[in-house]
Amino acid sequence: MTVLRMTVRACIGITTAVVLAAGSVFAQGPRYAVVDVGTLGGARSVAVAINNHGEVVGNADTATGDTHAFFSSGGLIQDLGTLGGQASHVGGISDKGLVVGRAQDDSGVYHSFIRLRRGQMWNLSVLDAKLGHKGFSAAVSVNGAGQVVGYIHTHGNHMAARSRAFVFKDFKVTNLGSFGGEDGVVAGINDSGQIVGYYGTEPHADYADHRAFIKTGATVTPLGSMGGRTTTPSDINNAGHVVGSGQIKGGEERAFLYAAGKLTNLGTLPGGTQSFAYAVNNLGQAVGAAEASGSLRAVLYEAGQIIDLNTLIPVQSGWLLTEARDINDKGQITGTGTINGRQRAFVLTPVR
């Protein structure tokens, strides 16, 4: 009965902090069915995102060894192709099936792309000349309103390059700049247009010191620090709750939840040294990865607990789930694991 009560609380607990603060004990036995998403003819696949229709996007090897973005629905996997080059990588998918990411053109340059539920990949650099430079750009997230966020690198030269965030909507790109820092990188956008990302306190935020923020309208609010020099957000839900990971003093990473103005350390699995939160749904459930005995496990952050998802799937499944990248509002989770020695994207669907 505790299980049922907690499930109900989790479902109605829009205030994630409350949900996470509660205790929980889960019954034994599988909670999820696990499905192998497959590949595009090659050996491996990794999942990136899942929408509320259970449609999954990620990246998979083709028969020729290239990596292509894929779209998977109803057990079928589809190669989303490229912009003429060898590789493409997914950033996210909306409930309307709008897929975004980055793909190489025939000269090997990566451009942001969008793709409707059916049809071809569109090069944002073609749709708006503001992205039509020769440098790198990547679309990383899309919300239910069709707003796409991403970032560009202003220059091909490593030292001269600066990251600038953008939002794309209605064939128009708006430069969001660098949020007051040296560089600006975005990670996610929710349905009301709130954006999370990070900016560098000195050049090259992506690997130098950087701070996470949430942008609401014109207001940029820093999320704070976990004690180290970097705080890296991954996702924001419609309640404005943010998850990600932050460096602690010794250099390891800890998953965090930011809600109601407070940054909360989500902890680690017993004995572990690192944890990450990659996504949070509108019920306040978060997923990610955390170390147990020297290797990462896919985890669910729910009701104040961090749970190894490997304990919630059939014991004989043959899977080792190593990271969970996204969770939808139906509780379906997608991520990457190992089965038969191969990296494969998986989908977990609640069975109870």
Binding site: V46, G65, F136, H158, G250, E291, E323
Partner: protein, 909 residues
């Protein structure tokens, strides 16, 4: 000592050229302790016998972010792009290296048993890594690509394993993901093995060391050190926590078998250092005496005598703080575990700087984003302490546990024989640095030395062997190859292709001579050709003045160039069979090229680019230089077909644009087609033309003669003609007429030319098209054929009253549909646009006629562009069965990707 140090620092900060410094101090003489011709500072106070000496600052061709000592004795280095160079420490000469074919900046690297340099990862952009791997053969100047890793790696670390395999860990996939999967590149197969049970997010360029028991030790830079068992699917040990905490951009070195030093790093930087002895049962970090200076971005370099040289770095807070350079070098003695301050370097060497031990015992210090394209060479004190031991002869190849003879007249004063592995360094970390102290005895002619006992203690490959005398003076290194017969018994000796003229980057004009040669081959056994900027190959003649070579004398006078600047000059060597056996490229610099006559205003085509493969919807863009948009028009034509006008656009600068949907076009076949742009002035006179080639790949003729015939059971039978001899299958697509966007509904096998589409809705018109799948894609589509299923007795007919066919829609609009004769409660209607999801409509009695309606706000929708879109209505009965469908086309004016931007109508509710 500080008396001189201070002015030198000041001078260094003001003077970029050493020659100024030399003249100003007036206290420098030419010295040659390391058998080189460079100037050496001989300051008044610091005694080089005690603290060594820095050379002058030398110009360097590029910023050598990644630097390696090759088994040929040359130093290979590259910076931010795929542009490697060689430097010969004995002559000071630079020469180019073959291209890897991908951006090798930000790779991990280490040497394979056969002396090749193995690279993993690479640079797409900051924090976005390539998955590539490849090996560079220094004996043949060639690259061998290997399979991609699981994903990209930007800043990974390579570690040699005992069996010749290479462990690769860490590196960024992109800004959202670090690659957590350790992988082992297997020498025997050239493929990757995943350590799926050892996945951790590690720091960038982690400090990894192979131990004598075969495990790999991660010493940092995070506070948690661990052992990695690379067998099977891998396993990390529990962490060993260091007292110093995070040491990012500090450095680490295994200074003896199983003993590791970590030093500096963190932000703000630390001067602390720790050691760990991994040979004991319970290893633990132990803090030792600190450096004199706090620093990060420093490099630790093992010297022949086992001491560790610390160079470069910054003491101030920040990632790469050039305002607080640490110029003083320091030397760590593993016996006393203390640091000694050494003379300062000339300039700040921080992020991206490196240091590398050279075969003559000196240390090359170069790069860094502040000092950039310059280098200094440090001559340690041991080079000033007396005559060096000499080696008369030594084997070039030795086997494990083997005793081998080293002939030397100085055997009696030799106290140590040390093997130093060839370094491979970047970003404050040397990934292939190791010392092995070899047992030896004195013989009548020299020494009898015993090679290392295992491949874990000393991985197979090339080493420098130094004899060290009682005064600590090392010999010049002998290169020896430590071989494990099981790994690679064949020595890599192959011809080397060298271009001796022109030198890379040389300015050329008038009459100039090109020279190239292939070592170890008779002139008659090969030929060499030159080509500039990909132009034709031109043969070279035999030249015998000096070393036999191939030569060509070229008169560049009156050549037409695109302008002043560098041009690639490629040399191609072929064997007697005409097969290309080597290539070598240099840049030549053409000065004072006459400017191209600007002539008439030029028509500039920015899209498509020359040779671009086109399909689907694509944009053409062109503009007249210096002309107002209103002053001219531009039209495009393909393959001489009709001229089509382009529209004005100011997106990203004023130009003419046209969005072209090539879908469904009929082409003559796959291949290039000329696309011509014609600009006319206001009077209609042609003022400029510009042509580009486009490459069309969807031009394979498809099926023809598609017919659609209505059957008797709500079915339509399709037939077509198969024109494709190598079809794999046929794909049938359908839409509810009128329509433009088809949806795939079925496939049939190769050579099948009919399909029965059953289960259709009565009273509905359908359109079909068919194409064949072929090996490299799809053919063109067939013609479109349509047929309508009859409305059966009592078959409901769905009537759509809004929108009307072809209506232009925007903002808030209303859809209306109804079935005459059915009660509103007996059916439902849904609408969908362009095959997207079905959206329910509601009952409505406005106007007195019961119908279904939906109020739709099209504001903020994302469209593919302005144009017609199919709007389909689907009626279902109470049982949920589709009973009727009806489609209309709507015209949507979307915010266009180019061209005039119409004002957007904002819907209101």
């Amino acid at each position: 000592m500080n008396v001189l140090v201070t002015p030198r620092r000041r001078l260094a900060s003001f003077a970029s050229r050493l020659s100024i410094v030399v003249l100003a101090l007036g206290t420098y003489v030419v010295a040659d302790p390391g058998q080189s011709n460079v100037l050496h500072a001989q300051a008044q106070a610091p005694d080089p016998q005690v603290v060594g000496q820095w050379s002058a600052s030398l110009p360097w061709p590029i910023e050598a972010v990644h630097t390696h000592l090759l088994p040929t004795g040359k130093v290979m280095f590259y910076g931010f792009v795929d542009d490697s160079r060689l430097w010969d420490p004995t002559t000071g000469a630079f020469s180019p290296v073959a291209l890897a074919g991908f951006n090798i900046f930000c790779t991990g690297h280490s040497f394979l048993p056969d002396g090749r340099l193995f690279l993993a990862g690479g640079h797409i952009t900051n924090s976005v890594g390539l998955p590539n791997s490849a090996a560079y053969d220094p004996f043949t100047n060639t690259w061998t690509p290997y399979p991609d890793m699981n994903a990209g790696r930007w800043y990974p670390t390579n570690t040699n394993l005992p069996n010749g395999d290479v462990l690769v860990v860490s590196g960024d996939i992109d800004t959202t993901q670090r690659n957590p999967l350790p992988q082992v590149w297997e020498l025997a197969t050239g493929t990757w093995r995943d350590l799926t049970t050892a996945q951790l997010v590690l720091p960038l360029y982690p400090f990894m060391f192979l131990l004598g028991d075969g495990r790999v030790f991660m010493a940092g830079p995070g506070e948690n050190a661990r052992f990695l068992d690379t067998s099977g699917t891998g396993a990390w040990s529990a962490p060993i926590v260091s007292a110093g905490g995070l040491r990012d951009y500090g450095s680490a070195v295994m200074y003896d078998e199983g003993k590791v030093l970590i030093v500096g790093g963190n932000d703000p930087p630390t001067e602390t250092a720790e050691v760990i002895d991994l040979n004991v049962a319970t290893p633990a970090w132990r803090t030792v005496a600190p450096m004199a200076n706090k620093r990060r971005q420093n490099t630790a370099t093992l010297l022949p005598d086992g001491t560790v040289l610390i160079t470069g770095g910054s003491s101030g807070a920040g990632f790469d703080n050039a305002q607080t350079p640490v110029l003083d070098a320091e030397l760590w003695d593993p016996l006393t575990e203390t640091f000694t301050t050494l003379p300062p370097i000339w300039q700040y060497r921080g992020y991206h700087s490196v240091a590398l031990l050279l075969p003559d015992g000196r240390v090359l210090s170069t790069a860094g984003d502040t000092a950039g394209e310059s280098a200094e060479i440090y001559s340690p004190a041991y080079l000033f302490k007396g005559p060096r031991p000499t080696v008369t002869s030594a084997p070039t190849s030795i086997a494990y546990t083997q005793a081998f003879a080293v002939a030397t007249p100085d055997a009696e004063r030799v106290v140590a024989v040390n093997l130093l592995r060839l370094g491979s360094v970047t970003h404050a970390l040397n990934m292939d640095q190791r010392i092995n102290r070899l047992p030896f005895t004195v013989t009548g002619t020299g020494l009898s030395v015993t090679a290392p006992s295992t491949t874990a203690l000393a991985p197979a490959g090339y080493y420098m062997m130094f004899l060290i005398d009682a005064a600590g003076v090392p010999s010049v290194a002998s290169f020896v190859r430590l071989t494990d017969g099981a790994l690679d018994p064949v020595g890599p000796v192959a011809p080397v292709f060298t271009v001796s003229a022109p030198i890379d980057g040389a300015p050329v004009s008038g009459v100039t001579t090109f020279k190239a040669s292939m070592s170890g081959m008779e002139l008659s056994a090969y030929s060499v050709f030159w080509q500039i900027a990909g132009d034709r190959l031109n043969p070279m003649a035999d030249g015998t003045d000096g070393v036999p070579h191939k030569a060509a004398e070229i008169d560049l006078t009156d050549w037409t160039w695109l302008g002043t600047g560098p041009y690639p000059l490629n040399f191609v060597a072929k064997n007697a069979a005409g097969e290309t056996i080597a290539e070598q490229a240099v840049n030549i610099f053409v000065e004072d090229a006459p400017p191209v006559d600007p002539g008439q205003p030029a028509l500039i085509v920015t899209a498509p680019t020359e040779g671009a493969p086109l399909s689907g919807v694509t944009m053409f863009r062109a503009s007249m230089e210096g002309m107002d948009l209103t002053a001219y028009s531009v039209s495009w034509q393909i393959a001489g077909d009709r001229l089509n006008p382009m529209a004005d656009s100011t997106e990203g600068g004023a130009h003419k644009a046209a969005a072209i949907d090539l879908t469904g076009w009929t082409w003559l076949g796959t291949g290039p087609y000329p696309l011509n742009f014609v600009a006319r002035n206001a009077a209609g006179e042609t003022v400029a033309e510009q042509a580009v080639s486009i490459y069309v790949t969807t031009a394979v003729p498809g099926p023809t003669n598609l017919t659609a015939t209505v059957g008797t059971a709500n079915n339509i039978v399709l037939t077509w003609t198969d024109n494709v001899p190598n079809d794999l299958r046929f794909e049938i697509e359908r839409c509810v007429a009128p329509c433009t966007i088809f949806t795939a509904i079925a496939q049939v096998g190769a050579n099948v030319v009919t399909y029965n589409n059953t289960g259709l809705t009565g009273g509905t018109a359908y359109n079909y098209r068919v194409r064949a799948a072929i090996t490299d894609g799809n053919t063109a589509y067939s013609n479109v054929a349509g047929a309508a299923t009859p409305a059966g007795p009592g078959q409901p007919v769905l009537t759509v009253t809004a929108p009307t066919e072809g209506a232009q829609l925007s903002g808030v609009t209303t859809f209306r549909a109804s079935i005459e004769g059915m009660a509103p409660g007996d059916y439902s209607v849904s609408w969908q646009i362009a095959g997207d999801r079905l959206n329910p409509m509601e009952d409505n009695t406005d106007g007195g006629v019961p119908h279904k309606s939906a109020l739709v706000d099209l504001s903020g929708w994302t469209w593919l562009g302005t144009g017609p879109y199919p709007l389909n209505f689907v009626a279902k009965n109470a049982a949920g069965e589709t009973v009727a469908q009806k489609a209309v086309n709507i015209h949507v004016v979307a915010a266009p990707p180019a061209g005039p931007t119409p004002s957007k109508t904002k819907g209101t509710k």
